[in-house]
Symmetry: C3
Subunit: 466 residues, 3 copies
Amino acid sequence: MLNPYRFFDPDEYVRKIAFELYQEVKGMPILSPHGHVNPSLLAYNEPFPDPTELIILPDHYIYRLLYSQGISMESLGIPARDGTEVEQDHRKIWKIFADHYYLFAGTPTGIWLNHELSEVFGIEENLDSENAMAIYDELSEKLKSEEFLPRRLFERFGIEVLTTTDGAVDSLEHHQKIQLSEWKGRVIPCFRPDAVIDIRRPDWNRQIEALSEASRIMINSFPSFIAALENRREFFKSMGAVSTDQGILSPYTNELDPPEVENIFQRALKWKSTEEDGYLFTAHMLMEMARMSIEDGMVMQIHPGSFRNHNQALFDRFGYDKGADIPVQTEYTRNLHPLLNKFGNDRRFTLVVFTLDESTYSRELAPLAGHYPAMKLGAPWWFHDSIQGMLRFREHVMETASIYNTVGFTDDTRAFPSIPARHDLSRRMDSNFLARMVARHTITMNQAKIMNMELAYKLAKRTYNL
Amino acid sequence: MLNPYRFFDPDEYVRKIAFELYQEVKGMPILSPHGHVNPSLLAYNEPFPDPTELIILPDHYIYRLLYSQGISMESLGIPARDGTEVEQDHRKIWKIFADHYYLFAGTPTGIWLNHELSEVFGIEENLDSENAMAIYDELSEKLKSEEFLPRRLFERFGIEVLTTTDGAVDSLEHHQKIQLSEWKGRVIPCFRPDAVIDIRRPDWNRQIEALSEASRIMINSFPSFIAALENRREFFKSMGAVSTDQGILSPYTNELDPPEVENIFQRALKWKSTEEDGYLFTAHMLMEMARMSIEDGMVMQIHPGSFRNHNQALFDRFGYDKGADIPVQTEYTRNLHPLLNKFGNDRRFTLVVFTLDESTYSRELAPLAGHYPAMKLGAPWWFHDSIQGMLRFREHVMETASIYNTVGFTDDTRAFPSIPARHDLSRRMDSNFLARMVARHTITMNQAKIMNMELAYKLAKRTYNL
Amino acid sequence: MLNPYRFFDPDEYVRKIAFELYQEVKGMPILSPHGHVNPSLLAYNEPFPDPTELIILPDHYIYRLLYSQGISMESLGIPARDGTEVEQDHRKIWKIFADHYYLFAGTPTGIWLNHELSEVFGIEENLDSENAMAIYDELSEKLKSEEFLPRRLFERFGIEVLTTTDGAVDSLEHHQKIQLSEWKGRVIPCFRPDAVIDIRRPDWNRQIEALSEASRIMINSFPSFIAALENRREFFKSMGAVSTDQGILSPYTNELDPPEVENIFQRALKWKSTEEDGYLFTAHMLMEMARMSIEDGMVMQIHPGSFRNHNQALFDRFGYDKGADIPVQTEYTRNLHPLLNKFGNDRRFTLVVFTLDESTYSRELAPLAGHYPAMKLGAPWWFHDSIQGMLRFREHVMETASIYNTVGFTDDTRAFPSIPARHDLSRRMDSNFLARMVARHTITMNQAKIMNMELAYKLAKRTYNL
């Protein structure tokens, strides 16, 4: 079902070069330095319950598009917070999905699903209304077998390192369980302190309490807050973490005076912070996180520019991460100025910047990464983790920043079985991008091979010290 | 003169697929759900006076480019409001146009004109200084014949539905005349209330008077204004309208409290409104229009982001729509938030959003349309109704929103005989876009055929309930 | 080493057409209407000291990328303002450069360097660590010979006109020396008054003194300042200048009342100007410069949108133009409104606008240039003077503005021996761009040949009255 030359340029000459380049990297181990797979999967290593729970329910990429076409969240079985009954019959949900599978034709989700069904599960037909339930049964059967247990898939996928994303107060018990087990798979946490840094979250005070407990540091002042964070970072590092991550609306950075930041912190503790406070506090915390990264050596990642939970009614009923996060315009040159001025020349520091605003690729991000030693560009992210998105990223970034100021591919997935599909697509697109340059005599085949290896494996390995 | 494979990729493999796809859609009926053709043309069905009046005078796409190269509006016969004499000799104007026809090489206007001259009028030469007057004479001769009467062209073009754009106070007499005639062509109005909604227009009070008269509702308060609008919408609907349209500078939406909106409305009636009033009133009216759309089922369209009449001196002398409307940056994620939160989950509602700001395609518009059931994306508009513009639209939008959250092609033309040229170009570009995906094995030929039919015909049919 | 078909599309059909088009323009004389070559080179015509001083030290494009990869400015021999010792051994610097030459693979700098080494210096190998010093020696040897003297290279490069960039107070002594010599090369200045217009520069008062001296006009009021500028423009014009240039952060234009501007000017003279003053003064001076351009016929150029010296620590130690200028978002529709409204319809006026913000190409710049007779678009600039950058420029601009509202290629280089490489790449890219249109039957081969000649030579010749 899957053509071996898929996604390469139709031009015979380019295709041939691309295929040759791809052959050299397709089997390389997978480094997944940033993702959202639940580590409990690999800690407990239990069979996936059924195809709907494996493929549809955890993946807002899928039900976002179904929802846009008028299919209700309830009928897709997405659990509602207000107790509304939602579809419980996973076979029915699967049928709806199959009936609308045509919606995904040509989208990255469609490409990944095709790969997953064919390469991971050996399904040889295109999913549609007719074969929906037969495929469901075949998948269900397979999921029960040893061969499809999470750890077996991990190995079969050739994953060398899988990084999860974990809150600052997380006990990392699943990681602990994995490390204490006899299984040798390398699953490491990433320190994501958003919930304790965003003082405007309704549950912030509860988060701070949890942070106090987790760190055994009584948090009643900004310095004690910082001490608690440093304590947690140390713990994460001891558990194998090599990086931190922050999701922020704006990448504004700015250092406040100690009394200023203390005042804001105290207002927040008393539930009296303003929106402006939140904005300033986040800006200050980006500076603090950079400082800590220099001290403990963890790579700092930022993912700005998403207006979270844009659809209030949907959020009220179904909660976070339901496909209603919408990008906004994002500014980097002025916003990162304070941070890069203070830390950007420090070679101990690595800042990986992701974006959802493609207009900044050539205008701001490539020139910044093409100058500051500390700054690197993350892979095209989320909506842009796609054929055209990857192509635009390379075309807009590469000439100014070179590939050496980028960090390789990041799958950022919640959908465990989609990992090989995503890396395969990325490796194909990079091979094709380089093949185009070879075919235009912009680079030699030899240079292309070296660069392809960097993009598929080495850049991530070096950047994240894996 | 026109190569049958024109505009397809030069790659043989892609070209062959594109051509096959194109064959299936090229003869499909034309749905033109949004345009600016004057309905009097089809109401009176009189011969077009001459080539200059047919082709040059109504088309600011043409004289915009001539003007940019130093050719005066006067010499092109554009009527001046201040009584300045302008060229009256249409043969002279045609000669200037032909002398500068090289300017249009490779532009969409040039492509449409070539198609029009060749396919509609059977001219077998490229227009230039040499053959200018001979072609003028040939065209003049043809325009006198039965075969080139507007209704005959309408039929020959294969137009199934032609939508015009009509002000809220318009009597729709031409539509009435068409409907009462024996001719079966379907020409329907679209409700465009800009002139009565923009309280900052110098002639707004006069417009409100006209609206009072047209609706027979005395407008002295905001509720009576709304009642009058509802009355006109009902009238438009009774005349066949299926949609409304609004041209706005910013797509800011926001609901005001009743006293607030009443205050603004009263200030406007007394010629005392401020710029801020105008901004807030438009934002509120977008909410009202959405509410009415849900009630009466008409599709709501918005066309934001054009700084109208940028060239003041030109505007003072020649008025509206003279090629001096210039796009500005436009924001959708935050601006549409109130409207989409209130109405975006309502499946009775359809909001079609057009843009002139391509940087919003992948960043804001595709993610919004790829989530909210009510929101759909209009075709690439105006400057972007071009080979590269259509390609960029598909490449930036399709992977996130799929083709199913777009609405097919909209020609948006004032130039009646350019309609088939525009639809033909669009069908060629879509066939080629899909062929590229087939050639990369991203979709199958079968999927491509289904999608192509959607893009050429079905999406518009469904979206606008035609 | 350099493939004759390099940079053309791999598709055989396009490539053949592109090659044919390129053959017709590759040998045309070079017009370089905007650059930063030091005229003393051609005034004194002395041998270039060594390869490092010729190629590395003047080119921040090169050490920017090296610096981003952790190579210190000191080790590259960049002179420090604070007296820090930097590497003096040019052979060692060359070795570092060669060791990291792989970084430039696929970047425009890499393409230019390859061309330069091969075509200008006859080096037949790709530079690397192994051959680094042998190539250094070969280059050193060649630089000593007659054949590589600046004037000989100028002639060999086929340069018809070379424009330098010179401050308002510059004596133009090097230009004088060239003009008084027997050598016939045409090297002309361009009037760049940034240092006397930017009242916020720390050295502005010193610049004003220098301007007083140079113009022999005592500057103590705004009118005397304007008189001095007019005086200097006249002098520049007498020395052959055909254009002015301004680098500005924002292209905001706005005319102030005479008392207002006088107040700002007086505050500036007393070192009391505010940031707002600086912003308003620049906006007013853009209006004045346009007015003067109409009076003296010099073409006005603006280069907005660069946040200069973004890296403060680097600036403090190494000064201006060290690869740390980063683009910011730039707005043209509203900002240029006052200027274009006052002068944009005047056919005596030419305003050439460059940008670093590609999102404005299709949204603002092409529509503006496609309407106003005075406005033309400069070539893709700086980071965008690249294969993908040129392609994006043409694709985003051409359909709306046509090629006739653009001004041909501008190399903008500080690196004298890179001039032919840059023009060659541009001519190849334009040939290829036109070939693609021919291959799609969008334009005829004949049209392509005419357009190619315009892009390679005629547009610059006409625009700058050369």
